[in-house]
């Protein structure tokens, strides 16, 4: 079965931002996403939601352009004040045109 290479964008962030980040993904052109609950530690010691529950880990398969747009917007809107991490990887997808 033929595959194409897409970008897998992963974002880990405070649960309180979940709604806003999913909106950002959709606006940037993502067609879907997968969410898992996570906890973690990074450069910020404490965060508001920490004692109340887990962070959110968001994965989305998108085209290279959309990936770039997501990364730029997340960096622009959230990096300064919130606990958030974004990274991008390659992934081979079957019938990948569904996701772009």
């Amino acid at each position: 079965m033929p595959t194409i290479t897409l970008k897998l964008v992963t974002i880990v962030t405070e649960r309180i931002l979940e709604h806003r980040l999913l909106q950002l993904l959709t606006d940037a052109g993502a067609k879907g996403y997968t969410l898992t609950q996570a906890t973690g530690k990074g450069s910020r010691g404490v965060r508001a939601s920490e004692w109340e529950g887990p962070d959110t880990r968001i994965e989305s398969l998108v085209s290279a352009e959309v990936a770039q747009a997501i990364v730029d917007r997340v960096a622009d809107q959230f990096f300064e004040h919130y606990a958030v991490i974004v990274y991008v990887q390659d992934a081979e997808v079957v019938r990948g045109t569904k996701y772009i």
């Binding site: 309180i16 010691g45 404490v46 965060r47 004692w51 109340e52 004040h81």
Partner: protein, 321 residues
């Protein structure tokens, strides 16, 4: 002597001992923890239960009796964030954003502190007015709005004021409490009877379990104490005492019973750690959560449930006696 008894009675209740057990477990790095989902289920249960009971009682309360305390509570919800803000700015030299963020917490209310106060009263035979839960609903939101207004009117902000308001009004804490009040108000005592065993019988035990977890959380917060500085530690004890004593005094004056005034004192004294942190995180992301969470959860909450609540009851007694 008698006051000491009151204090000891509180400290040796299973509820407070569960809190202490949780804190100790956390300090010895035990893996005793309630699963997150149990924690939130207990919190839904406790808030709904108190809301329901309060709503049922509202049914029986003449409006005239309720209006005075209600207006007083509203006024305190507007005043206490302002006093907090000014103390933080003037005495503590804390920057605007962080001062407003902390003020939102100390103006609003901690439902669990309220519940501990109510339970303490019941245990010692001083039953507060049935409509007290409705006062909690009145106290929760205004302070947050006032504190955010202070922050937003003084400069342009990064966060979203609209999102924050939506978060406060539709947040778990408010919906459960107000929802419970409304349901209780509508169904009345007969409608409440069949669900009473669930919501009343299990209440104190569930509260003990919940405080076990709160002890774990509070002790962990305590480890950030160094990061917040001596001023904030003092603030987290002194300002709640002052707010609390003021509220006890005004409560008696507005017609509340001894127990009612004491519980109002505990409410006003307490600092929010559910509604306020969520709203502040959205509206004022540049404020440092270490400050407001450590103060409200690591200092004021433990102080109030152990020493504060008996203090407000003792002061209320001294006022009437």
């Amino acid at each position: 002597m008698e006051n000491l008894d009151v204090l000891v009675a509180n400290l040796l209740s299973p509820i407070i001992l569960a809190f202490v057990l949780g804190a100790v477990a956390s300090l010895v790095r035990s893996d005793l923890r309630l699963p997150d989902s149990i924690y939130s289920a207990l919190s839904i249960y406790l808030l709904l239960a108190i809301g329901l009971k309060g709503g049922v009682e509202l049914n029986k309360t003449p409006f005239a009796e309720f209006v005075g305390p209600a207006l007083l509570t509203l006024a305190l919800g507007v005043i206490t964030p302002i006093t907090s803000y000014n103390v933080l700015r003037r005495l503590g030299r804390i920057d605007r954003v962080n001062a407003a963020a902390i003020a939102a917490h100390y103006g609003s209310v901690s439902a669990v502190t309220f519940i501990v106060a109510i339970t303490f009263g019941t245990m010692t035979g001083a039953v507060a007015e049935g409509f007290m839960p409705a006062l909690v609903a009145i106290l929760e939101v205004p302070a947050i709005v006032v504190a955010l207004m202070i922050a937003f009117t003084r400069s342009k902000r990064a966060g979203s004021w609209k999102d924050a308001l939506h978060e406060v009004l539709t947040g778990r804490s408010v919906v459960r409490w107000v929802g419970g009040l409304l349901i209780g108000r509508v169904v009345g005592p007969e409608g409440f009877a069949p669900v009473e065993p669930f919501f009343v019988g299990g209440f104190q035990g569930a509260l003990a379990l919940f405080l076990l977890e709160m002890g774990i959380v509070a002790a962990r917060r305590l480890q950030d104490l160094r990061g917040v500085g001596a001023f904030l530690v003092g603030f987290g004890i002194v300002v709640p005492i002052l707010h609390g004593l003021l509220a006890v005094w005004l409560g008696g004056w507005a017609g509340l019973s001894l127990a009612g005034s004491a519980v109002l004192g505990a409410m006003v004294s307490s600092a929010s750690y559910i509604a306020a942190p969520a709203a502040v995180r959205i509206a004022l992301p540049e404020a440092n959560p270490t400050f407001y969470l450590t103060a409200s959860l690591g200092i004021t909450f433990p102080f109030n449930v152990t020493l504060g609540v008996p203090l407000y009851f003792t002061f209320a007694e001294w006022l009437v006696g």
